[in-house]
């Protein structure tokens, strides 16, 4: 392999990591070299990723591509094995995009810049690693690798409650990610061959109990990251306290790691268990949407409101994943991409506003529109995208998820109706809290003490550039969704078929049991899955 092709993906992981370790060696007399260095690395990485996606990637192929495998720890059956396929490639591009813009957004970091850029680059590399790892232990390593940089990024450059938020983040995530290892070990040792290769693991047949156990393990780990109700509580703290560039990465990419993990592990490896848990995912997804929306409404802190809106939006991903249709899965993927862009844009703009007002309390901000019209305009566009205005990516993705759910033949009609209805309620709540946010922050009378001598400067060209960079693809996808969908369409169809193929077997086994359950749980006739064994 090494001789025949360029190790693109390894380069993608190692470039930011090596760059991170080289940060202490960069001479930084005037305090400006470092940010150019960071941005340069980010741009090179982005260029590489885009080049890879545009020229090297075959959109029609289903399986892993560009795979590279080097023996790493043969004693443990662990390989340095990286590859991309339809679902990892768009996320990879998103990662490079958001991280590079985050590095650009961090232009003003003057406090311990050396450490900051080192950690940002390490985080960058770790995220790329998560999305390209084809080996379960490599995936776990990369997953854990991202912990400490995020912890330090929150706890050094965060808001007033940063230490609490950072500790909560690391304990939640570290504790949850244990389950990746446990479930992974369970799968790897099942059968006659010890392997951590995802492709090989997907071919194995697992006993039903192990499959359910592993599913629960993965679900716990990814649910915390996604975040799924009721393990979402770290998110408002972490996102609320982190500085803008870190929030961008957290909301833009780290949440997507949870969704990616659910597709990659739970659905691809364990389709049979997915059938048992899909109704749970749907119900929790709805809870996420509605609860997230209500909770967002109750926040007075701008960033915390955005954080809860993330919780709400990620609920659509859950519903899409559990819909058993290609359309639903497509919608979930698109929702991840779209939310990655929108949330990053919103957090960036919130950060830009904070840089000027030095407060995140919405009642203290009012009337900013007159002083910073550019930020106001950009913020409004981003908020519109977030509340799923037609023509923006959020609308397309949420609509696709609804379509998928509504067309799903796995659930009963009443169940689907309830689900769609409740999600629609959440969808209605979204504009309410987002528009009220806009009203509180930008409209109204400017606060007396801020007007006369503190005339806030408007967005500078750099900030406008970053925001526009986010908004262009958002609108682009909104107008022409195929732009994003072509890259993963083949793969999601394949996965949906794989999961769907497991469905009828279960559905036909014991219809009697099903009806009995229906009587017991009138709301969940969708529980078509029979009891164990």
């Amino acid at each position: 392999m090494f001789t025949t092709q360029v190790p693109w993906l390894t380069t993608l992981i190692l470039l930011p990591l090596v760059a991170a370790f080289a940060v202490p060696l960069i001479p930084d007399k005037d305090g400006k070299t470092l940010r150019w260095y960071g941005l340069g690395v980010g741009l090179v990485e982005l260029a590489l990723t885009v080049y890879l996606a545009a020229t090297q990637f075959d959109r029609t192929a289903v399986g892993f591509q560009l795979s590279e495998t080097y023996a790493w720890l043969p004693q443990l059956g662990v390989n340095w094995s990286v590859a991309v396929d339809g679902i990892s490639l768009p996320l990879l591009v998103l990662t490079a995009f958001v991280n590079t813009l985050a590095l650009m957004a961090a232009w003003r970091v003057s406090h311990k810049p050396r450490l900051f850029y080192g950690l940002m680059l390490a985080l960058y590399g770790a995220q790329m690693g998560v999305f390209v790892a084809k080996d379960l232990l490599l995936f776990f390593t990369m997953w854990e690798l991202e912990l400490v940089p995020v912890y330090l990024l929150i706890s050094i450059w965060g808001g007033p409650k940063r230490l609490y938020a950072a500790t909560k983040f690391i304990l939640y995530t570290a504790l949850a990610s244990l389950f990746i290892l446990v479930a992974g070990l369970g799968l790897a040792f099942s059968g006659d061959r010890i392997t951590f290769d995802l492709a090989e693991l997907g071919l194995k047949e697992y006993p039903a109990a192990l499959e359910l156990f592993a599913y629960v393990g993965f679900l716990i780990a990814f649910a915390v990251k996604l975040p799924m109700f009721p393990v979402h509580t770290w998110l408002p703290d972490a996102h609320g306290e982190a500085s803008a560039p870190v929030s961008m990465v957290l909301a833009g990419i780290l949440l997507k790691m949870g969704g990616y993990g659910l597709i990659r592990m739970n659905m691809e490896l364990l389709p049979n268990a997915h059938i048992h848990f899909a109704p749970v995912l749907v119900v929790l997804g709805v809870v996420n949407i509605v609860y997230g929306a209500f909770a967002a409404f109750g926040q007075t802190n701008l960033k915390r409101r955005l954080a809860y809106s993330s919780v709400s939006h990620m609920g659509f991903v859950l519903i899409g994943l559990a819909s058993f249709t290609e359309v639903g899965l497509n919608g979930a993927m698109l929702q991840m991409l779209s939310h990655g862009l929108i949330a990053a844009a919103l957090f960036f703009l919130a950060g830009a506003a904070y840089d000027r007002t030095h407060t995140l309390m919405m009642d203290e901000m009012s009337g900013l529109a007159q002083q910073m019209p550019k930020i106001f305009a950009l913020f409004t566009v981003a908020a519109m995208a977030s509340l799923a205005l037609p023509g923006m990516s959020g609308f397309v993705s949420e609509l696709t998820v609804f379509l998928g759910m509504a067309n799903s033949d796995a659930y009963s009609l009443s169940f689907k109706t309830v689900i769609v209805f409740l999600s629609a309620v959440g969808l209605i709540l979204t504009p309410i809290y987002l528009l009220s946010m806009l009203r509180e922050v930008f409209y109204g009378e400017a606060k007396a003490e801020t007007t006369p001598d503190h005339w806030f400067s408007d967005a500078n060209p750099r900030e406008v550039f970053i925001a526009v960079c986010f908004l262009l693809p958002i609108i682009g996808i909104g107008l022409y969704p195929k732009l994003a969908m072509t890259s993963y369409d083949t793969k999601t169809v394949h996965i949906a078929q794989k999961v769907g193929a497991a469905l009828p077997i279960f559905a036909t086994v014991e219809p009697q049991e099903m009806t009995a359950e229906r009587d017991l749980f009138p709301l969940t006739p969708a529980l078509i899955a029979p009891p164990l064994d």
Partner: protein, 523 residues
């Protein structure tokens, strides 16, 4: 007995060449110090280090020795013992590097300190290969008595005295218990002292011996558990760690512990082979207690040395996991983890020493804001602590992965889960120190850090300290990613050791062979 002309060949004396080199070094240190006096103190440590490197070189030559048994089977130089002796010798090298400045600053004599340290190393190395009850006990005592002496080395300090006295009393009691267990073993096997022969005799024994064997087992494990400071035989650890000179603590936590594990492996796998189920059970209990108590109590510590003491208890719990697994992968993961633990733990101790030399304190709260004053120290200590906590890509992560991997393979699901959960707890207290150093703002800096002296590496003994820090920093960060050679080494040390192939059948087979050349005296 017919003493042939070639005495050395008969004794297979080449097998203890590394230990011979240690003895030569130790004598050289003592005699040079006697003749040259204090003038030699500037270069004497390098003599000791050179001697230890020669020892390691000799150990490399011992690898895959086709004829490992020496001195009428009382010493076994198989690959397992070679790797453990290597770990011990290397830990002494790093300990000496870090102790030069420390001993200098405490105003005591360095030469004697190194001589005692080398004796402890000698005892530990012999213990790793001891194959005979008498040999085990004498080497164990060599290690213990030198450890007591080192613990109380700064004799004007009441804390050091207290530590030494505590260690001596508890150590002597545990030695007595161990000796009682061993003497029962001697009686039960009909007067054998060689481990293999004991195993053979016990395998033939009837069920009436079960109670005696159980008591022998429990008593022996009590002695071993004291050395590896497994809960509930850990009570000495925090007090001794806190009061002793820090280089001694470093040695106790790595070298002495490694020797304890080597002894446990050899003794339990040969002599107590017939009660494998029972000792697995006892060690499971010890591992559970050690992991829980070590990690939970470490959370509450305010002193760095005490925190590291509890963390070393917890780490011993993780290592025991590999032992309980009872597979080749399990033992290999133990060896691998100990190898990595050597670097990361000694690295952490080197940093603690450097900090206490510069500021005179080892309180965790006094580390606040160190990043602003000393980036290298902060980086090294952070990396070592994160590695101990098992954060990738540091070496400790891979060590733990291998341990858990092996444990899962052996079906120890509950223990692996417990290990994972407790290692998350451990992340909390390790990262607390990192947070102290890195996150604190300049205005939150502790007094100790505010009065931080200018960094000077040209003082006596500072350069070796720096070498130690940089070396462990590099190893800890790279040994995980590039761990393949170490893994191969650990695996080979297990697969090429007969110890792990001695099944019941083989044990019976040796009885006949043993009967022929059993008693050299009688011949």
């Amino acid at each position: 007995m017919d003493l042939s002309n070639d005495l050395a060949a008969q004794l297979n004396a080449g097998a203890i060449l590394p230990e011979g080199l240690v003895i030569v070094t130790l004598m050289a240190v003592l005699v040079i110090d006697l003749i040259v006096g204090r003038k030699a103190s500037s270069w004497l440590p390098y003599v000791a280090i050179a001697g230890l490197f020669a020892t390691v070189a000799a150990l490399v030559l011992q690898w895959d020795n086709p004829n490992p048994l020496a001195f009428f089977d009382s010493f076994n130089s198989d690959d397992l013992s070679v790797i453990f002796r290597g770990i011990i010798a290397l830990s002494t090298v790093i300990t000496i590097l870090m102790s030069i400045r420390y001993i200098e600053q405490s105003g005591t004599s360095l030469a004697e300190f190194m001589a005692i340290m080398l004796t402890a190393t000698l005892g530990a190395m012999f213990l790793s290969g001891a194959n005979d009850l008498v040999m085990i006990f004498v080497s164990l005592e060599t290690l213990s008595i030198s450890s007591y002496l080192m613990t109380g080395y700064t004799k004007r300090d009441p804390r050091s005295n207290e530590a030494a006295l505590k260690y001596l009393l508890i150590g002597a009691a545990s030695s007595a218990i161990f000796l009682y267990g061993v003497s029962l073993l001697y009686g039960l096997s009909g007067g054998e002292t060689n481990l293999a022969q004991i195993a053979a005799q016990l395998a033939q024994g009837d069920s009436d011996q079960a109670l005696g064997l159980a008591i022998a087992l429990v008593f022996s494990i009590a002695g071993i558990a004291f050395k590896i400071s497994a809960v509930p035989f850990h009570q000495w650890t925090p007090d001794v760690y806190e009061g002793s000179p820090t280089p001694v603590v470093a040695f106790l936590s790595v070298g002495s512990k490694a020797a304890g594990f080597a002894l446990a492996l050899r003794m339990l796998l040969t002599a107590f082979e017939s009660v494998t189920v029972e000792w697995h059970f006892i060690f499971t209990a010890l591992a559970i207690l050690s992991m829980i108590l070590g990690n939970v109590v470490a959370l509450a510590q305010t002193s760095m040395k005490r925190m590291l003491a509890y963390s070393s208890i917890a780490q011993a719990g993780f290592v025991m996991l590999g032992m309980i697994a009872g597979t080749e992968a399990g033992y290999a993961s133990m060896v691998f983890y100990l190898l990595i633990y050597l670097f990361m733990n000694l690295g952490a101790f080197t940093c603690v020493i450097l900090f206490s030399l510069r500021t005179g304190t080892d309180q965790i709260s006094d580390y606040a804001g160190l990043y602003q004053k000393d980036a290298l120290l902060t980086l090294a200590l952070s990396i070592c602590l994160l590695s101990l906590g098992g954060i990738p890509p540091m070496a400790g992560f891979f060590g733990k992965i291998y341990l858990f991997w092996a444990g899962w393979q052996a079906g120890l699901y509950g223990l692996v889960l417990l290990g994972l959960v407790t290692s998350v707890i451990s992340i909390y207290y390790y990262i607390r120190v990192v947070k102290m150093m890195v996150v604190k703002e300049p205005q939150e800096m502790s007094d100790a850090v505010q009065n931080y002296p200018p960094i000077r590496w040209n003082l006596t003994g500072m350069r070796p300290l720096q070498v130690g820090i940089v070396f462990s920093l590099i190893t800890t960060s790279l040994a995980g990613i590039l761990s393949n050679p170490l893994l191969t080494l650990a695996n080979n040390s297990i697969t090429q050791t007969d110890l792990f192939h001695v099944a019941n059948a083989a044990a019976v087979e040796t009885v006949a062979q043993v009967a022929e050349d059993a008693d050299p005296v009688a011949q």
